[in-house]
């Protein structure tokens, strides 16, 4: 045989079928590809960001087992020498770190001692090289990663200035290094520890001491360590910081999951279509003696072949999209949490493998039913035309039952107290699948109802169009389901984001009690803010100035944000979620602390419990008198009266000032008065009004959710493709019917109109159904995913524009997807259509 390939004739016939039905093969291909693209892109973006984050931690933390950390003032460096001499623990390295600005960009300055670094075997920085050691011993010598130096356009031995603690000392770039992972070290600048202490003006102090020690050493150290210091395991530190970034990724994962569900519907749809179209052929096979098993395998291997090619294409597209997403993700992480540079796009083979296998598994799962349908094909001699639709129709009650069970299980999972995040995802999947199974029955009911409504009208064409929906329910049901899910994703996510934004906006109003906020730009000396506070007291228009101190404090749960404030009225600025009776008084008297909602949720602590914080005098339990709403950090925050903080931490410095104006003083006037009072020092401080903070906060919020828009867009794209494929399927099956209609005198225009009416109805049904499903989805996203991941509660709102948008989207994409099939059906030649059989 010419061009004979080592494949069977059955397979060859399949290949030709796919080649002849290019549109359809493309649709299936596109469905699988888009699904894989989304999963891979989100996953790569996540893992790039996460890995860069983890690496920048390791590049600082190395493979140390423990760290000694101190209070707000750090660690006296004598502690370090005593550990080496008195305790003879040699595997230890001191470190001083702080934020500096170079050419307007933030960098983390890391001061370390090259010789001790060697003892704990920290390689990441390449500090073990002799020449580097030499270089670092020169005063004011710094080292940057190659990439960092490039970014700053600095060349070797060039001198440049750093902005730090209100000064601009000159430093010299003595070396650059090529890091294994450029992304992790790009935002770091290294120098000798003594240099760092000078640059940061922290003479004689260390930020931490990294250790590689065993259990014995650990016990000895714990016994020996002064009270104000704490020995922590390095892992637990990393983990608690890791959690914050993980939380963010979870929302994205939820979205790629939804996208994948939509893609599955599409694949199922197109595979079914290809089976149905070949019903005759499959029937002939059966007559010729091809067994059911062989037909089942044939259809499955067809989809497998498609899945492999399409998944591979999905990987490529996912890589491209991932590049875009990684930028969005890291920008969000920067905004939300800390400065992180991820310019290197890490291609994680696991992500690729995951996306690829997911594409194949999803395809096989969604092809399973069509393959089953194919294997039930009767030999051609006993085939009956309408049997398929009848079979489908008889299965509807079964679908509804299973769907309701899924929905019920999903709802049960949603409402479980403190269920895991995985359960949240499972609930989401079940609710969506359950809903999909119920959709065809609802569509049948809806179209019957519509027929009744239009019964008195003489529009035959509309009547035929609606009948077509219920009589072709195996196709139209799918089209409606796919479109419903996609649109409901935008409804659900829209409501979630809208509610979130609303909650944050309301919260900002409550939390921003001051009129003007002052914080240092970069680093200033400890007493700078106290000076400003004095300067502001008594200034015209200012009622009072409150100082606050925010720092990272060690707790039983690892590092936490601790805020010390002088509050006169506990209700202002701390919207309370729950509290013990008389909480206000207790707090003001320094009898207890407030914890933020995420902290309370994640650690399951509430009013009446205590929390252990590491004070200058060692660990101490503080009673929790209330839980307040807080959306600034998912890491968790503890607030205490300033007096209480001073008592336990012996620290009198401030990190921020809140200015409250007198009644009737405008914000502008207050701002300018404040600025004038600060005078020359102004350049070292950010003076910002209540309104500006609000605006900045909300714009950060909006940027955070840009990425969700991208995902919504993709979901809609997949849905439009699946509606298109369902409509084409419908049209192909009806070729003969259209032929008859044409032969009996229906004009092409009327046929076109009929199909457009049909698709608009499909869009309308999908839009209507997407609203309840979207509301359910929002509920899950808000109550389960966000709460379980971030610990934030939200007031659910129902933005009308989201609903209108959903309707427009459903009708619009259905209409667009209907144009081509309408055109095809209208241009069918009646004689051709009738000749077939």
């Amino acid at each position: 045989m010419p061009g004979s390939l080592p494949i069977s004739l059955l397979q060859r016939s399949s290949l030709r079928f796919m080649a002849h039905h290019k549109r359809q093969s493309w649709l299936t291909f596109t469905g699988i590809m888009l699904g894989v693209t989304m999963v891979v892109a989100v996953d790569l973006a996540n893992s790039s960001a996460r890995r860069a984050f983890a690496l920048s931690l390791t590049s600082v933390a190395g493979n140390v087992t423990h760290q000694i950390v101190g209070g707000p003032l750090g660690i006296d460096e004598h502690v370090y020498s005593r550990i080496r001499t008195e305790l003879a623990i040699r595997n230890s390295a001191p470190m001083v770190t702080g934020v500096v600005r170079i050419k307007g960009q933030n960098f983390r300055l890391i001061g370390s001692d090259p010789i001790s670094e060697a003892t704990i075997g920290r390689h990441v920085l390449g500090l073990h090289r002799g020449e580097l050691k030499e270089a670092l011993l020169n005063p004011n010598a710094v080292v940057l990663s190659e990439r960092g130096a490039n970014r700053l356009e600095l060349s070797l031995n060039q001198t440049f200035s750093l902005q730090v603690t209100g000064r601009e000392p000159e430093v010299k770039l003595v070396a650059t290094f090529a890091a294994d992972n450029p992304a992790a070290t790009e935002g770091l600048i290294f120098t000798d520890i003594a240099n760092a202490q000078t640059l940061l003006q922290r003479w004689g102090r260390l930020d931490r001491i990294d250790l590689v020690i065993d259990r014995d050493d650990q016990l000895r150290l714990e016994a020996w360590l002064p009270d104000e210091l704490k020995l922590v395991e390095s892992d637990s530190r990393n983990q608690s910081m890791q959690q914050m970034s993980d939380a963010f990724h979870i929302n994205l994962t939820a979205m790629s999951l939804l996208a994948l569900l939509v893609a599955t519907l599409l694949i199922y749809n197109t595979m079914t279509l290809s089976v149905i179209q070949r019903r005759r052929t499959l029937g002939i096979y059966r007559t010729l003696g091809v067994s059911r098993g062989e037909i089942f395998n044939l259809v499955l291997s067809e989809s497998l072949a498609l899945a492999v090619i399409a998944s591979a294409a999905g990987l490529v597209a996912g890589l491209l999209l991932g590049q875009l997403l990684v930028q969005l993700v890291t920008r969000t992480i920067n905004d939300l949490y800390f400065s992180l540079h991820v310019s290197a796009f890490l291609i994680d083979p696991w992500s690729l493998l995951k996306g690829f296998s997911l594409g194949i598994v999803m395809t096989l799962i969604s092809a399973f039913l069509p393959a089953w349908e194919a294997n039930r094909t009767e030999p051609i001699a006993v085939q009956q035309r309408s049997a398929l639709e009848e079979q489908w129709r008889s299965r509807l009650p079964f679908f509804v039952t299973v769907g309701l069970v899924f929905l019920l299980l999903g709802m049960l999972l949603v409402n479980r107290e403190h269920g895991s995040l995985l359960e949240g995802f499972a609930a989401l999947t079940m609710i969506v699948m359950g809903f999909c199974l119920v959709i065809p029955s609802i569509v049948v009911v809806l179209s019957r109802a519509t027929i009744l409504v239009i019964a008195p009208l003489p529009y035959q064409i509309v009547r035929i169009a609606i009948r077509g929906i219920s009589s072709g329910i195996s196709r139209t049901g799918l089209a409606v389901a796919a479109l419903t899910v996609a649109v409901s994703v935008t409804v659900g996510v829209g409501i979630m984001v809208g509610s979130f934004r609303h909650t944050v906006a309301v919260w900002l109003d409550q939390a921003l009690v001051g009129d003007v906020y002052i914080s240092p730009t970069g680093l200033v000396s400890d007493d700078a803010l106290r000076r400003v506070k004095q300067q502001l007291t008594g200034v015209d228009g200012i009622k009072h100035v409150v100082g606050s101190r925010v720092l990272n404090a060690e707790s039983e749960f690892g590092p936490l944000r601790l805020m010390a404030r002088t509050l006169t009225d506990v209700d202002t600025g701390m919207p309370m979620k729950e509290a013990v009776p008389g909480a206000e008084q207790l707090f003001l008297e320094g009898q207890g602390v407030l914890v933020s909602e995420p902290l309370a949720y994640h650690r399951q602590r509430g009013p009446g419990d205590t929390i252990s914080l590491h004070t200058s005098e060692g660990p101490r339990q503080f009673p929790i008198v209330g839980v307040y709403f807080d959306y600034t950090s998912s890491q968790g925050m503890v607030v205490m009266q300033h007096e209480l903080y001073r008592h336990w931490w012996s620290d009198d410095s401030l990190t921020g000032l809140t200015v409250v104006g007198k009644q009737g003083v405008t914000a502008d006037k207050l701002l300018s008065e404040t600025r004038r009072a600060i005078g020359l020092d102004l350049e070292h401080f950010t003076v910002i009004s209540n309104g500006e903070i609000r605006q900045v906060a909300l714009s950060v919020f909006d940027r955070t959710f840009v990425i969700t828009d991208v995902m919504r867009l993709l979901a809609i794209l997949v849905a439009a493709v699946s509606v298109l494929s369902a409509l084409i399927a419908l049209q192909l099956e009806r070729t003969r019917e259209f032929g008859i209609l044409r032969a009996t005198g229906m004009t092409p225009g009327q046929i076109r109109l009929m199909i457009i009416v049909q698709t608009l109805l499909i869009g309308l049904f999908a839009g209507l159904l997407a609203i309840p499903l979207g509301l359910l989805m929002a509920e899950v996203l808000i109550e389960v995913i966000n709460r379980r991941a971030f610990g934030w509660s939200m007031q659910q709102t129902l933005p009308v524009d989201v609903l209108i948008q959903a309707m427009v989207l459903a009708l619009g994409s259905a209409f667009l997807a209907g144009l081509y099939p309408a055109h095809k059906a209208a241009t069918i030649s009646p004689s051709m259509a009738l000749r077939e059989e």
């Binding site: 030709r16 079928f17 029937g283 059966r286 010729l288 003696g289 001699a381």
Partner: protein, 233 residues
Amino acid sequence: MARSEYILLDDVHRTYQEAGRSHAVLKGLSLAMNSGEIIALLGRSGSGKSTLLNVISGIDKPDQGQVVVNGIDLTALSERELTLFRREHIGFIYQFFNLIPTLTARENIALVLELNGYSPTAVREISQTMLAAVDLSQAADRFPDRMSGGEQQRVAIARALAHSPGLVLADELTGTLDAETGQLVLKLLQKLVSDQGGTLLLVTHSLAVAKTADRVLTLEDGQLAEQEGSFAW
């Protein structure tokens, strides 16, 4: 008896349930057909001729009664065994040809050979021979939609006979062809079946066709009646 009975149907019943009403098509039908025999089956439309062919080929199962083909009791076979039986022993020809649209003429013929596990060489040779036998060597690589009805039916005949099945079932194979083409196709079929020594059961409406058969049976009221071989013309 010199020739063995190739088909033996005894008291076969087949009733269809449709819309709650039962409709008996075959009512205690019996048939004995010898190997190498050619039988023409007559009967009004809807009398159950196709149903009978389906029962004989194992596509449909009788509600009651025995179906033995080539010594194999079909009623005792599983779905899969029936499929394999059909693959090996039966050749089917239909009014609407039922060729695989995505395979060429040659490949349509090769398909049954491949299914029956013939070696690639044998598949190539036999399909070549069969194409020549139906005089379509020049159309070997054409797809069904590029062939006339008569040509398609000749491919269908070649496909039905390629693996030398013991039994060929032809259901109104001339129904969509013009009279002349129909005659030619029919002659070809009868010749090829005789050459192979095969058995042929032929459903037809044409008395002229029936005349060329060894025996003529009429299906009426769910039973078979022998039509004595003497037609008036």
